[in-house]
Symmetry: C2
Subunit: 350 residues, 2 copies
């Protein structure tokens, strides 16, 4: 039977001291207030009794939970696992625990979860769910909860973030297409209320200009969310228009997979009739036929970096706002056709 857990009082009584003394003896911060001798005795009996401090009581008193909330828009998207892994590793090293929640891209649900986390007194938050203008971010600011945005950021820039250099990534993709001889290049844009969709869209236009091509507005399709069905739908829409194109730069891998689906239905093949690039290099895109050429984002590092920034802010609440952008790289596989086959490395960072 689960015998009642041993409390600080138990330890104190057994060691023949007052609970407050025991508390101080066990807390590294206050240990030097206590005689070496007694501190050791308390520590010893604590160990003997198998004392485990009650985090709830600690939290109630100190308002420090040592928990970080992590909001993920869609846990089904394979880009997030590596990010989460990075966050957990960095946080764990500092004695913090990550609590994950999946918001399902649903604003209502986001709100509920956020309130729940605030209620449970998380010490800080990492959000991968930010929209360019996001009331939830405002809410955190109002509550003065340390916050770091990851992958996506807000337009105002008023909170720390670590994101990919999306413009540069787009340059890589477009430049590669151009090198492969494509001139009529389409873009499958992500939702423009997300910084990723927005910035990649802007990056696409800028990159086209840089390689001396004109970005035809009629060759830009707007997807209302980052998933395969949208990718398929919008690709088919673009194809139904009367502007031809030989290449499509998708704003993320799921959209690119949607293109694969559409091409398959049309009896065409990526890398042959139409060149396709994705964005993210999420797990398994190297296993598609043809393996997908894409822009690799350092997901794991992104997570770890965000966690470290949050920890810094936890230590010093007045740490300055930082914006870190990570440099992506192009991974050339077979979906962009005639280019010399270079690399088809296995799955992203583990």
């Amino acid at each position: 039977m689960a015998t009642r857990r041993v409390t600080l009082r138990d330890v104190a009584r057994r060691a023949g001291v007052h609970p407050s003394t025991a508390s101080r003896a066990l807390n590294p911060q206050t240990r030097e207030m206590i005689t070496e001798d007694i501190a050791r005795r308390v520590a010893r009996t604590a160990r003997a009794l198998g004392y485990q401090p009650n985090p709830i009581a600690y939290l109630l008193k100190t308002n420090r939970s040592r928990i970080i909330g992590v909001l993920i828009p869609d846990i089904t998207n394979p880009v997030f696992p590596p990010i989460i892994r990075g966050i957990e590793d960095a946080l764990g090293a500092a004695g913090y625990t990550a609590v994950l929640a999946n918001t399902d891209n649903d604003e209502q649900r986001e709100r509920v979860i956020l309130e729940n986390m605030i209620g449970r007194r998380v010490d800080g938050l990492i959000m991968a769910t930010a929209r360019r203008r996001d009331p939830l971010v405002q809410r955190c600011l109002a509550e003065e909860i340390p916050l770091v945005l990851i992958n996506r950021t807000v337009a105002s820039g008023e909170v720390s973030s670590v994101v990919n250099d999306d413009e540069f990534g787009m340059e890589l993709a477009v430049a590669h297409m151009a090198r492969c001889g494509h001139a009529r290049i389409a873009h499958l844009a992500g939702p423009l209320d997300l910084s990723t969709g927005f910035t990649r869209h802007r990056g696409f236009i800028k990159a086209m200009k840089e390689v001396g091509l004109k970005a035809d507005p009629r060759l830009i399709g707007l997807c209302s969310s980052f998933n395969e069905t949208e990718g398929r739908r919008v690709f088919l829409g673009l194809r139904a228009g009367n502007r031809r194109f030989t290449a499509v730069v998708a704003a993320n891998d799921l959209l690119a997979v949607g293109c694969y689906d559409a091409l398959h239905e049309l009896g065409l093949r990526a890398g042959r009739e139409v060149a396709v690039t994705g964005f993210n290099d999420m797990p398994f895109v190297d296993k598609l036929r043809p393996p997908l050429t894409t822009v690799r984002i350092p997901h794991y590092q992104m997570g770890a970096q965000a966690a470290r920034m949050l920890l810094a802010r936890l230590r010093d609440p007045h740490a300055p706002i930082e914006h870190v952008t990570l440099r992506p790289e192009l991974v050339v596989r077979d979906s962009t056709g005639r280019a010399p086959r270079t690399s088809s490395r296995s799955r992203g960072s583990a």
Copy 2:
């Protein structure tokens, strides 16, 4: 500035009653102890002040956290997101919150996380990490923490579980292979200390007997974990042996993907030279070339069912131990060759 949160005392004072009265007025369980009139007044002022009960204080006093811990062996494996979704939905409907943790298949890490969760007084646990003999399960039993195992179960059967009918699934896969005319069928077995690996292995042998074939032990390769690299390694090992085979039944999709990798290296193709089946029907296997024939497990329902069973036990700690097995179905795609192309439905349950 984050103005101090309003407490129950504030509400009580404002409503002109004692905190205990306010507490009872606000708690549905005890409302009928209080005069209708006063209860309404308290409720009204609570709403007016925006009172949010402090879950920490509640927990400290009642020892009920309304949190369920969920242990996932590898968040990188795409079978888990749908399971998690199912758990979250069922739990959320009952006012509970799921807290996810990723154990990375590391026993040490599992232990740390479990202790952490116990320390934070989760009301119950759902474990997808169980080994056939598992000390952590014992630990939960000792602490009398309500527990439901999911996907994998323990050999002793002493705790409730919801798993797939793995033997039946294997029958489906093997029978299909036999129907396609294969006689020399290999098996990529998962780790035998996991119930999934163990039962699928046993199911394979049984199914072979049922279709009148002999399971050649030299055509059974043992993988030490469920991932692509192991699948690739063991497949190549089998091929290097001098027993030929024309089909391979893998114990899960990741192992099957490993077979794809190996076949690719050998210049062969699944569904042509060698038929391949997977197990799980995880997201994206329908996007592989060729799309993978596999055994579909109702992941979402599995999660939801496990959550409901846990909730039942939370209500009644003496609820009997239940073992639920869910019936899988075969999804025939192109990796098993000449069979008539039937279905290639899109990604699993969302």
